[in-house]
Amino acid sequence: MRHSLSLGLALVCGFALGAGSTGAADPAPLTVFAASDLTFAFKEIAPHFEKATGARVTLVFGSTGNFAHQIRQGGPADVFFAADQSFVDALIAEGVALRETRTLYAQGRIVLVTARAFGAKLTELRGLLDPRVRHIAIANPAHAPYGRAAEQALRKAGLWEALRPKLVFGENIRHALQFVQTGAVEAGIVARSVTDVPEVDWVPIDAAMHAPLDQAAVVVRRSARPELGLAFIQFVNGPEGRPIMKRYGFLLPGEF
């Protein structure tokens, strides 16, 4: 009993020690931390960049706020694409990101989405008052930039108080959209860049309804290859990146 237990433990420990030694020899790819509204666009752009430069790119998608925390603590990003410029400015002010690389790369747009399962397609915000619309998904306005824009648009339309009981908060716009994709929520306000999925219909919301969603990118100070990071930022706004970004509904520098 005792011996077989110790043997088992020793075997597992051997495995454990082995696990610690993986991954170190990998030639480091360019690591891009990107806000989740960029998921679809960047998955298309990255292969073009890899082909053009020969560098390998690792895309990490997630919440802008989380990424900012992680970069402060040494997160291995070379470049950070935030959904909101304030996070980039905070990192620059703290000396964690390189001021001279700060670039406004896009302006985000919000749209009104309706679940196809709902039957009717909503064409204006007032349509959300329809009693058949029982829930409305938006990203959490407390920390998600697109959620804040959705709140501003609903307030400006004078609907915020009336619709409040129907609101369901997602952690980010992808999460908010998933509520609608499953059909559990009838409608929502999310980023245009993520709405190309078969389960939803969408109409644009006038950009004058909310403060501009200025999205900034920056190279992280600890990056071992700042030039390559800056090259990626420029590539996104370059001749190969622009048409892709445009297709996903971003307004690009020079257009706003």
Partner: protein
Amino acid sequence: MDFFPIWLSLRVALSATALTLLTGVPIAWVLARKRFLGRNALEAVVVLPLVLPPTVLGYYLLVAIGYRGPVGRALASIGLELAFTPGAAVLAACVGSIALVIKSAQAGFESVDAQLEQAARTLGRSEWSVFWSVTLPLAWRSVLAGTVLAFCRALGEFGITLMVAGNIPGRTQTLPLAIYDRVQANQMGEANALALVAVGIVVVLLFGLSRLARLRY
């Protein structure tokens, strides 16, 4: 399909389970057999990871082991960087699962009749020997149950890992993070396949263990 997350998760979960056994079983024994100042505090600390939301716990952990944090700086002075490595994923899995080993093992040790241990001592056995020849053999089912729970929890650990190891494909993207990532990218087919693998691993493990338990007794 990308097999890296499966492989990584297996290694992370096994490493974490080994580490939680090595640290959790002694803590459980101390909690079961010793009375000392701060014992209640220790009991509370042990279950804290089950109480705090994983992302919050992950944030605190990251502040500690990040390159500017106290632990991170200490590690850096010996040339180690833990945050955002597979090692950080192991740490996250340990923190998330150790309470399960400790509480199960503690209950097991407490159910062992202290008189049997006393008898072994009167026969000249050392404390170490009493533990291995009396306490553990009588409590092993509880320890095993806790270990299985801990392994499953480690395999499924998400929130803490997301914060301290990041979600870096090919480096620290574990199975749960990979599933989440595929769902975010609307690749439901691959997400479902990976979820199925996770379920498969646990089913095989539980089946194997129940066979093992039957063989022994």
